[in-house]
Subunit: 240 residues, 2 copies
């Protein structure tokens, strides 16, 4: 990844007219005080309102749709997008796939970012979960353990667990960031050899330990469970 | 931001044919073992090779360009992109602008993510900087302090400082992530009132304290300097 050429420069690969149309559409959304999900004018109305050509508006809309700033529902029109981390996920997953032979370096980096964030959020997660009852997350952990006993992996349950764990943390940007790196990880990890049955069981147990530590208000035990949670994966990366 | 509808679902707002063309172009890059910066075939050649219509290929290329997976240099052709965090930055900045009245919540969240990451990276930064000489970063801190004494802000120096500080940390994904949040922060912060002269001076001093703590191998002092570094901003957010 090359951040040197400008992390926040305007979008590359678009014509000057389309970039200008993009900025006009963004300004239009802001000045009209529209919010995510609100409908946008039709393409023809936008061309007229902004005084831009149809091809510029069309190109701008496609770029804004790729960035989740505009959402195009075919047959229903255009809407203000929900703004997500999906563009970053697509970029990072592709980067991971681009250099698989690079000693799994991309995957290692993603796993390290996840572990660092999980550890850094220990205090916030424990504060949010101390004494909290939520049978849904217990169900998810039960399912994980049952699948692990049969030697099966549990991607869906894993996603639900991490999402539920961060749901009561007030700063939801952390949750979005963690989910984005979870997705990059999950979409890149199939390059590795299949996990061993004992790794699957230990990973399931570590989830239960994270939840128990959070509920009992034990920040240090939570951090240890986070490290244990990534241990089987770290071992698989060492073997690969 | 709505991650519920699928953090890693395929790109919304594109037609089925264009999505299929996008996947074909990604597969072509992977199967040809191309790397960032390598040239891609022309649009006509891609249509022929992939057996897709010109309009689908053109729409796919625009979307991939918005995600920095393909780079279009007008008059020079198409190249494999460098894959960056710019798409996430554009999304988050727009999100920040979309709800400025929301008690600066977006900006607060971004600042908290930066502080959490800076604190979590204390050990890695100290390990990378202990005893390290690099006159360029001292120059940057000198410039910051000189500007601060005159009551001037120092965005360029701030960016250089944080980039240089993370440059020797082995996992460069952290550097990209930090620079992305730095950019979101910097592009969103003008919504706040101008900083007070003493805040500018204190922020400059905190940068010097971070560098000194890292060089002397003092992780705890580094963490304290990080907190002091965000203090003036935290106060400005409280006042706003």
């Amino acid at each position: 990844m090359d951040m040197k050429r400008g992390a926040y420069a305007s979008t590359s690969g678009t014509t000057t007219q389309a970039t200008s149309a993009m900025n006009s559409i963004k300004d239009y959304i802001l000045q009209s005080h529209l919010q995510p999900g609100d409908p946008l004018p039709t393409e023809s109305q936008l061309c007229e309102t902004l005084g831009m050509s149809r091809s510029s508006v069309r190109e701008a809309v496609r770029t804004l749709a790729a960035l989740d700033i505009v959402e195009v529902r075919h047959g229903h029109g255009m809407f203000v997008g929900q703004v997500s981390m999906r563009p970053m996920v697509e970029s990072l997953v592709f980067r991971g796939l681009l250099k698989p032979g690079d000693d799994y370096r991309s995957l290692r980096e993603v796993v390290q970012v996840r572990r660092t964030l999980d550890t850094a959020l220990a205090q916030a997660v424990v504060e949010a979960w101390q004494g909290r009852e939520d049978p849904a997350i217990d169900d998810v952990v039960d399912q994980m353990e049952a699948l692990a006993e049969r030697g099966e992996t549990f991607t869906d349950q894993d996603r639900s667990f991490h999402r539920m764990l961060l749901a009561p943390v007030p700063n939801q940007l952390f949750a979005h960031l963690m989910e984005a790196f979870w997705a990059v990880h999950t979409l890149t990890v199939p390059m590795l050899d299949a996990p061993r049955p004992e790794d699957i069981v230990n990973t399931a147990k570590a989830h239960r330990a994270m939840l128990q530590a959070a509920r009992s208000g034990d920040v240090e035990a939570y951090r240890e469970a986070v490290v244990a949670h990534y241990e089987p994966l770290a071992n698989a990366l060492t073997r690969s």
